[in-house]
Symmetry: C2
Subunit: 92 residues, 2 copies
């Protein structure tokens, strides 16, 4: 009766909070340049070393470079994302 | 009374479903090579054109290349992700 109603109401409030948060929580990018409409990076190959790893998990402290944080993120979310690696011959 | 209880119960079921789904729904990568432990791409600059856009939203049909789908995704999720663009001098 009353107990069931109260319990269900609590669940209901949880549902509303969950639904409200889910849109934002499900963003690919949780925190990088959120004041910017679209985060695009443009790089010249002449500015890159022989091997450069670029972040695709949006959690790197060195974004747009990968710093390995994808491993922690993957473990926490059961995901399988990894970097894009660009290699080039030494110009020497 | 009964109506309130039923309504709250419905909300409660919604909450459970929402919480169950949220972990998976919040993955950065919803569908690319999910059979793979970690999706890493390695590219040689010699295989790239003068300007190549790489996807960082994990929604491109041409992954690892960007096909513009980030715009649809950003609009739907209120997010602000965009590609990594690699440019290089023409080798000619
Ligand atoms: S830290 Fe983001 S892909 Fe490696
Ligand atoms: S389609 Fe994914 S970043 Fe453009």
């Amino acid at each position: 009766g009353a107990a069931l109603g109260a319990g269900s109401l609590a669940f209901g409030l949880l549902a509303v909070r969950c639904l409200r948060r889910s849109a934002k929580a499900c963003q690919v990018n949780p925190g990088i340049q959120k004041d910017c409409d679209k985060v695009v990076h443009s790089m010249e190959t002449t500015d890159l070393g022989n091997k450069t790893a670029f972040c695709r998990c949006w959690r790197s402290q060195k974004f747009p470079m990968c710093d390995g944080t994808h491993n922690t993120y993957n473990q926490e979310y059961g995901d399988n994302v990894g970097p894009l690696i660009i290699t080039q011959q030494s110009s020497s």
